[in-house]
Symmetry: C2
Subunit: 328 residues, 2 copies
DNA sequence: CGGCAAACTGTATGCGTTTTCATGTTGTGG
DNA sequence: CCACAACATGAAAACGCATACAGTTTGCCG
């Protein structure tokens, strides 16, 4: 099962066998076939560790996400994985569950793997860690946080703009009291999302905005809705930080007999598949997760030293059935 | 960034440094501290590849799943990952999307990684591949397929029994025409699930069962419901192979104005979190995904050569709001 | 204080590849 | 038919680490 055995069986040296198996130029087609045949017969699979150690460029890319359970992260991951596989790479996933402890251990893990590239699609990264990663030799791409450097690409969705669109849409429907439903990851893009709402508010002086937060899950959304309803009973719209929480919110509202959108409007964010299957179907902001995943992967797979790059993605409003004018 | 540099900085040999960093017995606490300090200062992270190559036992376990998008697989994966991390292992994930081509390349990939263990939680594995994996030196655990050997553990949910429970529950409610909603993975446990229904039927001669299938997604469930409604308009219950498809089915029924459960009953399988958030909440069979994931991981992490083992899990009926008596 | 065991530390080897460099080997134009 | 290129192949040196084995120090008992 080692290269040596394949080489011996084919009657060549390991050098030649290696060249054949790696499609390196220079190998007579007769020997080539012999080697290929031997490898096949022996069910040879190269030892990745030896390969990397011997100086071959690693063909693994690492992906760290905050919460793989949330379809947003999952969709991005899937797109990364698909793109990677198409390019002959494989991907190593780490999930932090919004815990900075797990984030650190994930980064250590990734470092140990000597990856070709690393994608950090997390919200809880602190400045020090970003700095540390930026100093690495491997290409890094951050989603939503950090800034572009040499070797680090930055992709971000313009949440501010998205939230402003949402706010002005709701305002135009007549809503004046809205509550934002967030989750506990108070750093990074999430806070930005909430701040964006506040800033949108400044344009509309008569708009009142409150905030509640819970876990980034269906159940968390449900609990957050309870809070919102108890603390801000007069509000007419619940703006959720993502679709998953919005579906949880919907569930709680239904349980309490509040009709959506007649009594209260609800919005999500991300336009995850689930949002179309919610009852009622969610009004949300579309974020192109496929494109994000593909872009991430392409940045990490490019052979040449990547230039300092930055991508900004504009989310788009998708109106469905969960929003309407506030009750008279 | 190599062990050598750490050793040099600490004024010891690489052997000593290695021993300290691996908690191997024998190291004076003064030198130990020096090494630890040096490693810290240099932000040293051991090269996993070199480590494995040098003969250390690999601390990675591989997980192959059919469709990571389905929360069933996701939950199992999460449980595996959590257990692995707790034990100092990391996990490498591969997703096949029910494609046997991708399955094969995933297995090759895993082989290259020289893992500590491999979990195959897939339905599309053919006998030849099972055989090949069984022959490997690494411990393997199959979920739902294959049979226990030396070095291979088997975990399966008793779908037959689960489906029988479901069938008799629906029968007792008065349903006589049901249609099973499956997906395209016709091999392995899925087919078993459908067959189980047929076998359950034999007990009730007046029960009619039809079958439709589409993709294992929300949208697939929706399309399958369209098929079911068109082809079998007289049926009073839709038994879905899992919760995700059931939610898709629910959506289509609602779109067509068919009330659940007054006009038609719907059941899922797995008792995924989403099932409680569906409208109406899904009647389903609970499958303990946490326990499955934990068990898988423990089998793979045990140091001693694992005995031939087999686990069979009994799913349990969870009645919610999506089932009721058929219309009169 | 001598000697021996126990505790500690260093040297050197090998893990399975890739890759550089040197050594054949074949082909081609003069 | 010779010489010289272009090509094909092999030998051997890394890569970074763990570990067997040898060597060194320390502590303890007589």
């Amino acid at each position: 099962m080692t290269l040596r055995e394949v080489a011996r069986r084919a009657g060549v040296s390991t050098a030649t066998a290696s060249r054949v198996l790696n499609d390196t130029a220079g190998a007579k087609s007769s020997t080539r076939n012999r080697v290929l045949k031997a490898a096949e017969e022996l069910k040879y699979s190269p030892n990745l560790h030896a390969r990397v150690l011997a100086g071959a460029r690693s063909r693994s890319i690492g992906v760290i996400v905050s919460n793989i359970e949330n379809p947003f992260f999952l969709d991005v991951y899937k797109a990364v994985e698909a793109t990677a596989r198409a390019g002959g790479y494989d991907v190593i996933l780490a999930n932090t569950d919004y815990s900075s402890e797990r984030l650190i251990s994930s980064i250590r893990l990734m470092a140990g793997h000597r990856l070709a590239g690393l994608a950090a699609i997390v919200s809880e990264m602190d400045a020090e860690l970003i700095e540390e990663l930026s100093g690495q030799a491997v290409p890094v791409v951050f989603y939503g946080i950090g800034t572009a450097h040499h070797n680090v690409t930055n992709i971000r969705v313009d949440y501010r703009s998205g939230m402003e669109k949402l706010a002005s849409y709701l305002y135009s429907l007549g809503h004046r009291r809205i509550v934002c439903v967030g989750h506990h990851a108070s750093l990074g893009p999430i806070r930005e999302r909430l701040q964006a709402v506040s800033s949108a508010v400044s344009r509309y002086p008569d708009l009142e905005v409150a905030t509640v937060a819970d876990a980034d899950t269906l159940e968390g959304g449900r609990r957050a809705a309870r809070l919102a309803l108890d603390r801000h009973p007069a509000s007419t719209a619940l703006v959720c930080v993502n679709d998953v929480m919005a579906v949880g919110v919907l569930r709680e509202l239904r349980g309490r007999g509040r009709r959506v959108p007649e009594d209260v409007s609800v919005t999500g964010f991300d336009n995850v598949a689930l949002s179309q299957f919610a009852v009622p179907a969610l009004t949300t902001m579309h974020v192109p997760r496929d494109e994000i995943g593909r872009t991430i992967c392409e940045c990490l797979m490019s052979d040449d030293v990547p230039p300092t790059r930055e991508f900004i993605i504009e989310p788009e409003l998708v109106v469905r059935d969960s929003t309407g004018p506030p009750p008279a």
